[in-house]
């Protein structure tokens, strides 16, 4: 907090670029790491879609390289591995590093006016732990007896040695454990940084919403990741040391033993907050971006913060809605249904605020703005379909069908991904000193949102028609074969969605090295991160700024003609 303690910039290559403790370098490391895994997870999704549309056909071009033993055909075991790893990778190695690792590391110190995270070494360790987790997860694909096949939820007894004797599942659990450890380190670091390192004048009421979102997410990370950590440890012990925490004795032969449902409780106590871990930063980011580009103050700032906090608290007490069909007692089921329904109230306040933020604004439809509006759209779709899943009467039929797949992809996957894309494009000029191409960005946006919504809305229809998820081949029985046309349509749209991401890859790489050089504040916003030089000096702020204005004072009537924004370090002119 003292303004004069500035570390010297490291000169050694390893200290500067590899084991750096600088939050900006770590943010970029998380960015590249997340994008690579997003690509791998995306390719897996394409393979899954290929198999569903053309069951048992060899994958063209890359098939014989990826699956040499079967001549390019995805066999059922590989298919199970693909959707398991797709889920694990996208959640833990794709979205989490992007939206929490990258955006968090980049935005928190800069937006609150700090020179670095409060625990820089822990920050470095956090990245290299998730990196190790990624390596272990990737290595698990190549061990004897097959990789993990138990779904990203890893339900015992399927994930214990009852089903698979190989080390793939064990390594998967180790990978999840390591990634979790990384998130805990990150969470502690973010929370402490926000609490201790805010610049003078940066009160809680002046924190940008992005920081609020990340702060609340960090709280969830620190509180709930240990739960999945313990679940993973117990699972590893069951698999490696022969304990029976989750392996029950047979009902007919009596005796003691473990309980597979215990794992489901542990998993979902973490698993449901995990949804909000991904979505809270997204909400924070779009709360800011909508205000920045509508050139209007964030409508109901306090209400938004309150709603996000309410969701954070509620997220801990609704997890049972993932277990409505497991034989949960009627009373628990009804309680969880009620609590889950209550989440629609804070969610509605957020929608109310976002929609009023853009109402009567002066909207600049830049690429980050498009993504933010996209989040409102897809999260609206996903959130409302959540009502079907929360209501036991409908969930009893829709549970474990494609309806659920459509629902959670729209809520946590698409919304978090859109916010991550928005944030990347938004922070890109400050990160790399260059602008991303708006033309390609807009093309990417439209070619992403249209197929994405088509794919997942198609899945609602499939789910309502009774198609269970995680089936290798829907044509093997008459009942599902009559729905195959929808699978084909969804696959076509998914391929379009997948290929549209190449535009982003091209745009990202081209703009990184050949993009138009950016000015210091190209978006004309007032938060502290944009009041710095480009490129950023190692120490961010030579003098720690003093904050005197809120983050969203756009189009203030007192501002002079021709200017609709004001820096957080400037006093508002008296009207």
């Amino acid at each position: 907090m003292s303004g004069d303690h500035i570390h010297a910039e490291p000169t050694n290559f390893f200290r500067k670029h590899v084991f750096s403790v600088d939050h900006k370098v770590i943010a970029k490391q998380f960015l590249w790491f997340g994008l690579v895994w997003l690509g791998i997870g995306g390719i897996m999704a394409m393979l899954i879609r290929w198999q569903l549309a053309n069951p048992g056909d060899p994958v063209p071009v890359i098939g014989s390289f990826l699956f040499p033993r079967t001549g390019g055909v995805i066999d059922p075991a590989t298919y199970n591995t693909l959707f398991t790893m797709h889920g694990t990778i996208m959640i833990f190695l794709g979205l989490t590093p992007l939206i929490i690792g990258c955006v968090g590391n980049w935005a928190i110190p800069l937006m609150i006016g700090a020179r670095d995270m409060i625990f820089p070494l822990l920050n470095c360790l956090s990245f290299w732990t998730v990196f190790a987790g990624g390596c272990v997860g990737f290595y698990s694909l190549f061990v004897p007896l097959g990789a993990t096949e138990a779904g990203w939820t890893g339900y015992p007894t399927l994930s214990t040695t009852v089903n698979g004797l190989g080390s793939g599942e064990t390594l998967w659990a180790i990978a999840v454990f390591l990634i979790g450890a990384s998130s805990i380190m990150g969470g502690i670091n973010y929370m402490t940084t926000v609490i201790r390192l805010r610049a003078p004048g940066m009160t809680w009421g002046r924190l940008p919403l992005t920081v609020w979102g990340l702060f609340l997410t960090s709280a969830l990370n620190v509180l709930f990741i240990p739960v999945i950590g313990s679940a993973m440890l117990l699972l590893i012990m069951d698999r490696v040391f022969g304990t029976t925490f989750f392996v029950p004795a047979s009902i007919m032969q009596g005796g003691g033993g473990g309980d597979p449902i215990l794992y489901q409780h542990l998993f979902w106590i973490f698993g449901h907050p995990e949804v909000y871990i991904l979505i809270l930063p997204a909400w924070g980011i779009i709360g800011d971006l909508l205000s920045f580009f509508a050139r209007k103050p964030a409508f109901g700032y306090r209400a938004q913060v309150g709603a996000m906090t309410a969701v954070t608290v509620l997220s801990a007490v609704v997890y049972g809605h993932h277990m409505f069909t497991t034989g949960l007692s009627a009373m628990l089921g009804e309680s969880f249904m009620l609590l889950t329904m209550i989440i629609s109230v804070p969610a509605e306040i957020l929608f109310f605020s976002w929609l009023h933020t853009i109402w009567r604004g002066n909207i600049r439809f830049t690429v980050p703005m498009l993504w933010s509006v996209g989040v409102i759209f897809v999260f609206g779709l996903g959130g409302l379909t959540g009502i079907y899943c929360a209501t036991i009467g409908t969930d009893i039929f829709l549970h474990d069908t494609y309806f659920i797949v459509g629902h959670f992809h729209l809520t946590m996957a698409a919304s978090a991904l859109f916010a991550a894309f928005g944030a990347i494009v938004f922070f890109f000029p400050k990160m790399f000193g260059r602008m991303m191409s708006p033309l390609l960005g807009k093309l990417h946006f439209w070619l992403t949102i249209i197929p994405l919504v088509s794919v997942f809305c198609m899945m609602f229809v499939m789910g309502y028609a009774g198609m269970p998820r995680r089936y290798y081949d829907h044509t093997s029985m008459e009942f599902l074969a009559s729905l195959q046309h929808m699978n084909k349509a969804a696959t076509h749209m998914a391929f379009l969605l997948g290929s549209a991401q190449l535009i982003f890859v091209f745009n990202f790489i081209k703009s990184r090295w050949f993009g138009k050089p950016a000015s210091t504040n190209p978006w004309e916003v007032g938060t502290l991160d944009w009041q710095t030089e480009t490129p950023l000096p190692h120490y961010n702020f030579k003098d720690i700024p003093t904050v005197v204005t809120g983050p969203h004072e756009f189009s203030h009537p007192a501002l002079p003609e021709g200017r609709d924004w004001i820096s957080m370090t400037e006093e508002l002119p008296s009207a």
Binding site: I387, H399, D473
Partner: protein
């Protein structure tokens, strides 16, 4: 570089023209058209054949219309400013923090409306449905209840009926694999467990599913109202051949069923090996 800039400008103007965007959207939709237009396909669930099936359909469509209504409001509130409030140099946005008493009141009213319309309405119906249907598992003593024990395994369904003597675990039990025959118009009550991993009994036409966990017994029931053959699926990932774990439900009219059950029980006795103690699985019905 100059050529490059020029080309980018061309592309930009092409992109901004409405015709380009409209045709792009159309092209994407056309990608789905061949499948959509092909005939003889199913777009929804099979008609329900259980007495509580209508409850699912009613609730599903109630929620659907509520969602359509709410989502329309969201879309309209996105579309209007997107068209009306696009950036114009020199124009200032309406400055409003949304913190006035009026805004707070509005937010409260909308919250209350959301809770009452979206949540409470659905909740009340759902609770009634659960108590009257899905959770209203018939007691053994009730007349006409037909009881079946289910043992799921990788990758098959084992069903056990009481047989002629009305007791589970005796010589005349009827054992079925991947096939289940039940009488029409009687409440069919299941208790089930699993040998190995978690399975989930899903009969789409009957509008219910229930997980059967190893080491525990779960109960579920339904009452068929239409005789016929229906598909039984496994809805919980259970390993390699999860997708092949399906069976068939035969709902027979009661006369036919009685004949069937008598024959089945007799064949059960014929197949019973009293020395083969390893082959026993059954439990006393859990009340």
């Amino acid at each position: 570089m100059k050529l490059h800039t020029k080309m980018m400008q061309r592309l930009t103007s092409l992109w901004t023209s409405g015709i380009t965007r409209a045709s792009l959207g159309l092209a994407i939709l056309c990608g789905m058209a061949p499948e959509a237009l092909a005939g003889g396909k199913r777009w929804g669930p099979v008609p329900f054949a259980s007495d509580f099936g209508y409850r699912f359909e009613d609730l599903f469509w109630l929620i659907t219309w509520l969602c359509v209504g709410s989502f329309s409001i969201v879309v309209i509130m996105i579309l209007i400013p997107s068209v009306r409030d696009r950036y114009k140099p020199g124009r200032k946005a309406h400055f409003d923090h949304g913190a006035s008493l009026k805004d707070k009141r509005l937010a409260t009213v909308i919250s209350a409306a959301t809770f009452l319309v979206l949540d409470a309405w659905v909740l009340v119906i759902a609770m009634t449905d659960l108590r009257e249907a899905w959770w209203n598992i018939p007691e053994s003593e009730e007349a006409g209840v037909y009881e079946v024990e289910v043992l799921a395994q990788q990758w098959a369904w084992n069903f056990r009926h009481k047989g002629a003597d009305g007791k589970f675990g005796t010589a005349d039990d009827i054992l079925q694999m991947n096939e289940l025959t039940v009488p029409n118009g009687r409440s069919v009550s299941f208790q089930g467990t699993s040998k190995d991993v978690i399975h989930s009994l899903f009969i789409p036409a009957m509008r219910f599913k229930k997980d059967f966990n190893p080491g525990d017994i779960n109960s579920v029931w339904f009452k068929p109202i239409t005789a016929g053959n229906y598909t039984i699926l496994c809805a919980e990932l259970c390993g390699y051949a999860h997708y092949q774990m399906f069976g068939e439900l035969h709902v027979l009219e009661s006369d036919t069923f009685d004949n069937w059950a008598a024959d089945a029980s007799e064949l059960g006795v014929a197949a019973y090996d009293s020395e083969d103690t390893e082959a026993r699985w059954a439990w006393d019905w859990k009340e």
